[in-house]
Symmetry: C2
Subunit: 332 residues, 2 copies
């Protein structure tokens, strides 16, 4: 492995000069810089990152913590973030919390141990507050939150425009002539779901409808729960459902079909996330698309921006987009 000392010797200068030249310091002659970078290339020099990190007190690595990597939303967000960070010379360490608070704490400790320059995270559903985040990271570690965020932690937050997304989805169902629209609302504690709920409610009241708590179902947005919620909703007179997730919306489709209802004629459904299967199933399902890759990109950009002292990013709201398909299209 070739070191800066090797380059220095080959060039008859000192390691300090090489280090400065490689770092692009203005305090080094242009010709020297050129000579150094040429020689570095020729000798196949590559910086020893651990040494650099030790000396500088932080690494060129950004940690990303998500509940699970193998979920379309998160893997796309990571993909977007990784692409941007690489362009800026940063690598990415990935940690999964498995929706588990303790694992999340462990991940934070690991990242601090590695002296990461920043952390991009979407917290576990079992993390109720963000205290552990600040406690387990260094003071100068940049924290970027996305999707699931704690308002009380300062710094950039990249989120879906959940309110308007849900608003549009619900509004669309009303426009299509559905009379009584239930809501599969997701976990009560999670901000993203709360915003979707608010959008749903606002759409109802804006259109002169009543909000009825009996047809709002709080729970995990998995297929099975969606099925159960939809059955109850139908019992309670609903002719449509807005679901905060696509999988629960899929469950709702099955419930409606099981009860002999035709979709969209008798029962309308709009889901959220625009999962791939929504465009393939029969009938195809309307859904509110999120843009996870873009969210990941924005999160990484927020990190890069935050590197400059004094720069503030704040909250970035990424639009969602209603994709109308067969499951909610009653009018022609």
């Amino acid at each position: 492995m070739v070191t800066i000392s090797d380059i220095a010797k080959a060039l008859g200068v000192t390691p300090s000069t090489v280090s400065r030249a490689l770092a692009g310091s203005p305090r080094v002659k242009d010709s020297t810089r050129k000579a150094v970078s040429d020689m570095a290339a020729e000798m196949g020099y590559e910086r020893n990152e651990p040494a650099s990190s030790l000396r500088k007190g932080h690494s060129n690595v950004v940690g990303i913590i998500v509940p699970r990597i193998n979920r379309a939303f998160f893997s796309s967000a990571i993909s977007g973030a990784e692409t941007v960070l690489n362009e800026h010379g940063y690598s990415v360490i990935i940690c999964q919390s498995h929706e588990n608070h303790e694992d999340e704490v462990k991940a934070l400790k690991t990242l601090r141990s590695n002296r990461v320059a920043g952390v991009i995270l979407s917290h576990a559903s079992s993390s109720i507050t963000g205290d552990h985040i600040l406690e387990n990271l260094g003071q100068d570690t940049i924290i970027v939150q996305f999707d699931r965020v704690f308002k009380e932690i300062s710094g950039p937050k990249i989120v879906n425009d959940n309110f308007h997304g849900a608003y549009e989805g619900t509004h669309h169902l009303i426009e299509q002539g559905y009379k009584r629209i239930g809501n599969i609302a997701g976990y009560k504690g999670t901000l993203a779901y709360l915003d979707r709920l608010k959008g749903y409610m606002r759409a109802l009241t804006d259109m002169g409808r009543e909000v009825d708590d009996d047809i709002i179902f709080y729970d995990s947005i998995v297929e099975k729960k969606g099925y159960e919620a939809a059955k109850l909703a139908i019992e309670r007179g609903c002719d449509a459902i807005y679901s905060a997730g696509d999988f629960s919306a899929l469950g709702a489709v099955e419930a409606a079909k099981g009860l002999g209802l035709r979709i969209p004629e008798d029962f309308g459904i709009v889901g959220t996330a625009n999962e791939y299967f929504t465009s393939i199933m029969t009938p195809t399902m309307s859904s509110i698309a999120q843009h996870p890759y873009e969210i990941g990109r924005r999160a990484a950009q927020a990190f890069i921006t935050s590197l400059k002292p004094g720069a503030e990013v704040g909250e970035v709201v990424v639009p969602m987009e209603l994709i109308v398909r067969e499951s909610s299209l009653r009018k022609k």
Copy 2:
């Protein structure tokens, strides 16, 4: 940040003793070890990984390189690997090659720069040989390949049992009474696809059928290509298709439907990968399931095993599993 020196001072011993105690060296008194670990916990000590890595010459990090993170197969594999590696005290750096040879080389350089202990990788489709892998990694870096592997590179290789998977899928179609079975075969250069092709051929010959190159289609296994291939196959008299991918199989479904064929009565289809949508579409699609999470786990275990000098892992073949659904089930 508390260091081993701080602990040493607090305990009246030297840093070396603390270092040894923390590393679990046998050359330290039990009582001392206990005192050290208690004090470390009390003071909230966490190892400075960059310092440790610099000293040791390698880090507690494993690099994973995949074409794209946001593909179900790879994100699941990463998830499995990450889970196992974390249990053994390793972190994971993720790199994407974007199917691009140059990006893959860059990733290897980055990982070497970070002095990773090992690399787990599935190469880009544009990497024809594995030379760059050895060239850009340290001698003692453990290399584990999975899914797409270069035989010429020694070390553990974790692969699907592509041959038997494709064999079973094809065999099943024959058993169901389909007469002329085409093949959407994937890229010609990739070993995994080649093995599927061999399985397909072997099933045909075992059952006394001819292999006809006119109904084997080599190309990317995306929906569009599957559509085109299936149209040709049908023109050429096929009444069934085995596809090396689910998305291309989906294209085949559309082609058959478009030509007025009923599935499975007139046309049978078996895909590969068992993507989520296969169980939701109409008709549901038979597919040969892979087990990416398990493959990731095995890859990580192979790395851990390879840590012990002298231990050899070699090739691990993970079974695939035919999931029969409506698209190929003609007999009752």
